[in-house]
C-alpha cells in the first residue's frame, strides 16, 4: 500500500546527474510527484563515494555528515542511482560504526534510503510509467543497484507498462560494465576490456536504446559504444519512464 499522506522525499541528485545530466534529475522529480510524493532537493554535493572507494575515511566522513544533516527532515531519500543510494544505505552505517551518535543518525538515514525505480514500485506502488518514449531497449543491471539495493525486476516492470517500449534482454545483463568509479581510470586496460565485452552483448541484442539506472555505468558504456562507432542511443531508465523523448541521448548533441 502506498503511504496515505504525501511523503516528503528528499532527492539525492547524485553528483554525476547534477553535473552531467540534469534531465535525469527532472525525470526523477516527475516520476516521484506522479507517484504522489512531495519532492524536496536539499543543498548537497556528493555522497562521498570517490573518497570512500579510495580509502579516504576522513573525507568520506565529512561528506557523509553534511549529507546526513541535509536529508534528516525527509521521510525518504531517493536517488536515481543504485550506487549512490547504496553508499547511504549500506556504507554510511559502516562508516560511523565507532561513533554511536552518528551511527544512529546514519542508520536512520540508511533505513529511509531507496533507489528510484524500487522506491516507485515497492514503496509507492507505482505500476505504470509515463508514455512518450518508444523503441526497442535493452537493460543493463548496474552492480550496486542489483546487489546492494535489490533492483532487478522493478525497472523492467515499469518498462513493460509502456506500450511503445519493447525490452530485449542481453546475455550477462548483470555482469559489470567495467566502470567501478575510479577503477575505470586507475585500470583503464581492464576496464576497456570489460566494457568492450559489454558493448558486444548490447549490440547483439539489436536494441536501438541501452538503458540502465546509474549514470556512471551509462557514461562508460555510451563512451565505448560511441568510440567504436555503434549507433545505439544510451539513456537513463528514469528518462524513459518519465516519457521524455526529447532530450538527446547520453553523449549526443542536442537537436
Amino acid at each position: 500500500m502506498p503511504p496515505a499522506n504525501p511523503p516528503k522525499v528528499g532527492l539525492l541528485v547524485t553528483c554525476l546527474v547534477d553535473l552531467f545530466r540534469p534531465s535525469v534529475g527532472f525525470a526523477a522529480v516527475t516520476l516521484l510527484e506522479r507517484a504522489g510524493c512531495q519532492v524536496t532537493v536539499p543543498s548537497q554535493s556528493c555522497c562521498g563515494q570517490p573518497a570512500w572507494n579510495n580509502g579516504d575515511r576522513a573525507t568520506t566522513e565529512a561528506l557523509a555528515r553534511t549529507m546526513i544533516q541535509a536529508f534528516e527532515g525527509c521521510d525518504y531519500v531517493v536517488a536515481p542511482s543504485g550506487s549512490c543510494s547504496g553508499m547511504l544505505h549500506k556504507h554510511y552505517p559502516e562508516l560511523f560504526r565507532d561513533d554511536p551518535a552518528w551511527a544512529a543518525r546514519a542508520t536512520a538515514l540508511a533505513d529511509r534510503t531507496w533507489e528510484l525505480t524500487r522506491f516507485l514500485t515497492d514503496i509507492m506502488g507505482l505500476d505504470t510509467a509515463i508514455p512518450g518514449f518508444a523503441g526497442t531497449v535493452t537493460y543493463h543491471d548496474s552492480c550496486s543497484g542489483l546487489r546492494e539495493m535489490g533492483v532487478k525486476d522493478q525497472p523492467r516492470r515499469l518498462l513493460a507498462s509502456l506500450p511503445g517500449v519493447e525490452l530485449t534482454e542481453m546475455p550477462g545483463a548483470d555482469v559489470c560494465c567495467g566502470f567501478g568509479g575510479t577503477f575505470c581510470v586507475k585500470y583503464p586496460d581492464i576496464s576497456t576490456h570489460m566494457v568492450t565485452e559489454k558493448v558486444e552483448a548490447i549490440v547483439a541484442t539489436g536494441a536501438d536504446t541501452l538503458l540502465a539506472g546509474d549514470l556512471g555505468c551509462l557514461m562508460n558504456m555510451a563512451g565505448r559504444l560511441s568510440r567504436l562507432g555503434h549507433d545505439i542511443d544510451v539513456r537513463h531508465v528514469a528518462e524513459v519512464l518519465a516519457g521524455d523523448p526529447d532530450t538527446a541521448p547520453i553523449g549526443r548533441a542536442e537537436g
Partner: protein
C-alpha cells in the same frame, strides 16, 4: 613463492593481449559458473547451508586456539605429530628437517596452495630433494616452470595443445608419434609418469581442505585420486595447512564438503574425499607409517579479532574467481601471487604486505558478484575496501590520487561553494562539448584513450531546480 603483485598493471596488460590466455579464459568463464548455477538450483537448502557454514567458521575462528589445541591432542592420540610454523621460513625448515632426517630423495606432492605460499618446492630442490607434483594441472605447471593461475584449476590458462607440446618436449623416452590430441591421452600419459613417483616416493606431502578437531583428521578432496596415492603409499605423510582450516566436528566438515564442490566446479561432491587420521595402525591394510601435520600461521592470526577476520572463513573453492569479471579479463597470473582473484585481493595483503599487494584490492569494481557466490559469505568487497583504507592510512596510494581527493574534498565539503564552482564549470564544459562528447580531455587519458567522454548538458540540476522553484 616470490610475490610479483606490485607489477599487477603490467602483468594485466600482458594478459589482455595474450591470445592463448584469451581463448582459455573465454572458455573458463562460462564453464564453472554454469555448472555451479545448476548444482545450486538442484539443492534447495543451499542458502541455508551457506548460513550454517558461515556460523561454523565464525564460531571456530572465535575459538581458534581451543580447536587447534584439541586437533593437536587428537592427532597425538592417533599417533601423529603436529608442528607449528609461525611463518613460511619456519614451515620450510620443519619440512626440510623431517625430509633430511628421513634421508628423503623423492617427494610426491598432492595439490597444496600452502606449499606454493611457502615456496616449498624451491626449498626442497635447493636441498637436493626432488618433489613431484601429482595433480595433473600442477604436474603440467611444474614441467613448464610455472605457478598455478587458479586455486582449483591451476592450469586453466593453458590449452591442451600447449600441454601436448610440453609432454612431447619433456617425455622424450616415449614414442614421438604417439597420439596426444585428446585430454584422455594427456591424462593417461601423466598417470603413467606419476606411477613411479607414487611407488618410490619417500614422503607424501598434501594440503588439507579441512582439519577436524573432534577426531584429529585431515581431509583432502581431489578429482584424480592423486591425493589418496600421495598420502597412503609413501612411508611418511606430511600435511601442510593453514591454521584456519580447522572445524570442530566431522558433521561440520561434511557441511563444508556439501558446499565446497558445488561452489567450485558445480559437482555435488568431488571424486575422492579422503580422511586421514594418524599413521597406519597395526591391522590397517595400507597407509603411511608416520603422520605429520604442519600448521602454518604466516600472518593469519594477525587477522583474528580484526574486521578482516572474515577472510579466514575461506574454504578455497575458487567460486569468487570463477565469477569475477576482473579475473575473467586478466587471469590468475596477473595477480602475481599464490591466491588470485577476489579472495587473493582480500587475503594477499595480509600475507605479503599492503605495499606489495596494494593493487589487488584496488583492481576491483566492487561489483559484488564474488560475495554473492561465496559459500561462506565472505564480504570480499568490504575487506578489499578496508585494505584500501589501510593503503591510504599508510600513505601508499599514489600522490595523484591523494592530491586529487584532497582538492575535490576541499569544496565538496562546502555545498554552497561546490554548487557555485560546478555550475560555472559545467557551463564552460557544456559549451566546449557542443558535439555531445569529447574525443580527448586533459588529465583524462585513462578514459578518453578508448572511450568518448559524454559532454554535460550545460547547467547543473541544482541551479536549474533552484531557478524553476523561484521562477
Amino acid at each position: 613463492m616470490q610475490p610479483h603483485s606490485a607489477d599487477f598493471p603490467a602483468r594485466a596488460a600482458d594478459a589482455l593481449t595474450d591470445p592463448e590466455l584469451r581463448r582459455a579464459l573465454t572458455k573458463f568463464k562460462t564453464g564453472f559458473p554454469v555448472n555451479r548455477a545448476r548444482a545450486v538450483a538442484n539443492l534447495p537448502e543451499f542458502e541455508a547451508l551457506r548460513d550454517a557454514a558461515k556460523a561454523v567458521k565464525d564460531h571456530t575462528l572465535s575459538h581458534l586456539d581451543h580447536y587447534l589445541e584439541a586437533f593437536e591432542a587428537r592427532v597425538r592420540d592417533s599417533g601423529g605429530h603436529v608442528h607449528w610454523a609461525r611463518d613460511a621460513a619456519e614451515a620450510r625448515s620443519i619440512i626440510l628437517r623431517l625430509a633430511t632426517e628421513r634421508d628423503a630423495r623423492l617427494i610426491a606432492k598432492g595439490k597444496s596452495m600452502v606449499s606454493e605460499e611457502i615456496g616449498l618446492n624451491a626449498a626442497l630442490e635447493a636441498a637436493g630433494i626432488k618433489a613431484v607434483e601429482t595433480d595433473l594441472g600442477e604436474y603440467i605447471l611444474q614441467i613448464r616452470g610455472e605457478v598455478p593461475s587458479h586455486i582449483v584449476a591451476p592450469a586453466l590458462h593453458l590449452s591442451k595443445e600447449q600441454v601436448a607440446a610440453d609432454f612431447r618436449r619433456t617425455h622424450t623416452h616415449l614414442p614421438p608419434d604417439r597420439p596426444l590430441d585428446q585430454p584422455t591421452d594427456l591424462l593417461a600419459e601423466a598417470r603413467g609418469e606419476l606411477r613411479d613417483v607414487f611407488l618410490n616416493a619417500d614422503i607424501g606431502i598434501t594440503g588439507a581442505n579441512f582439519l577436524v578437531a573432534e577426531t584429529g583428521s585431515t581431509i583432502i578432496v581431489t578429482n584424480e585420486g592423486n591425493g589418496d596415492l600421495t598420502q597412503t603409499l609413501p612411508r611418511c605423510h606430511i600435511v601442510l595447512t593453514g591454521i584456519e582450516k580447522v572445524v570442530p566436528t566431522l558433521a561440520d566438515a561434511t557441511l563444508m564438503l556439501r558446499l565446497l564442490a558445488r561452489s567450485a566446479t558445480g559437482q555435488e561432491i568431488t571424486a575422492y574425499t579422503t580422511f586421514s587420521t594418524g599413521p597406519r595402525r597395526a591391522d590397517d591394510a595400507d597407509g603411511p607409517r608416520e603422520f605429520h601435520v604442519v600448521l602454518l600461521d604466516n600472518g593469519r592470526s594477525a587477522l583474528l579479532g580484526t574486521e578482516m577476520q572474515e577472510v579466514l572463513r575461506c574454504i578455497r573453492c575458487g567460486a569468487c574467481m570463477n565469477h569475477c569479471p576482473v579475473y575473467h579479463a586478466v587471469g590468475g597470473h596477473a595477480y602475481g601471487w599464490v591466491y588470485p582473484g577476489p579472495i587473493g585481493a582480500a587475503l594477499d595483503p595480509a600475507l605479503i604486505g599492503v605495499k606489495e599487494a596494494r593493487h589487488l584490492p584496488n583492481a576491483s569494481t566492487f561489483c559484488g558478484k564474488c560475495e554473492s557466490v561465496c559459500p561462506v559469505k565472505i564480504p570480499l568487497p568490504k575487506i578489499m575496501h578496508r585494505w584500501r583504507e589501510v593503503e591510504f592510512e599508510k600513505r601508499l596510494s599514489p600522490p595523484s590520487v591523494r592530491q586529487g581527493l584532497w582538492a575535490w574534498g576541499l569544496f565538496a565539503k562546502r555545498p554552497r561553494l561546490y554548487r557555485l564552482i560546478t555550475s560555472i564549470a559545467m557551463r564552460v564544459m557544456g559549451l566546449m562539448g557542443k558535439e555531445g562528447s569529447f574525443k580527448s580531455l586533459p588529465l583524462a587519458g585513462g578514459w578518453t584513450d578508448t572511450r568518448d567522454f559524454p559532454a554535460p548538458q550545460g547547467r547543473t540540476f541544482q541551479s536549474m531546480y533552484k531557478d524553476r522553484r523561484h521562477g
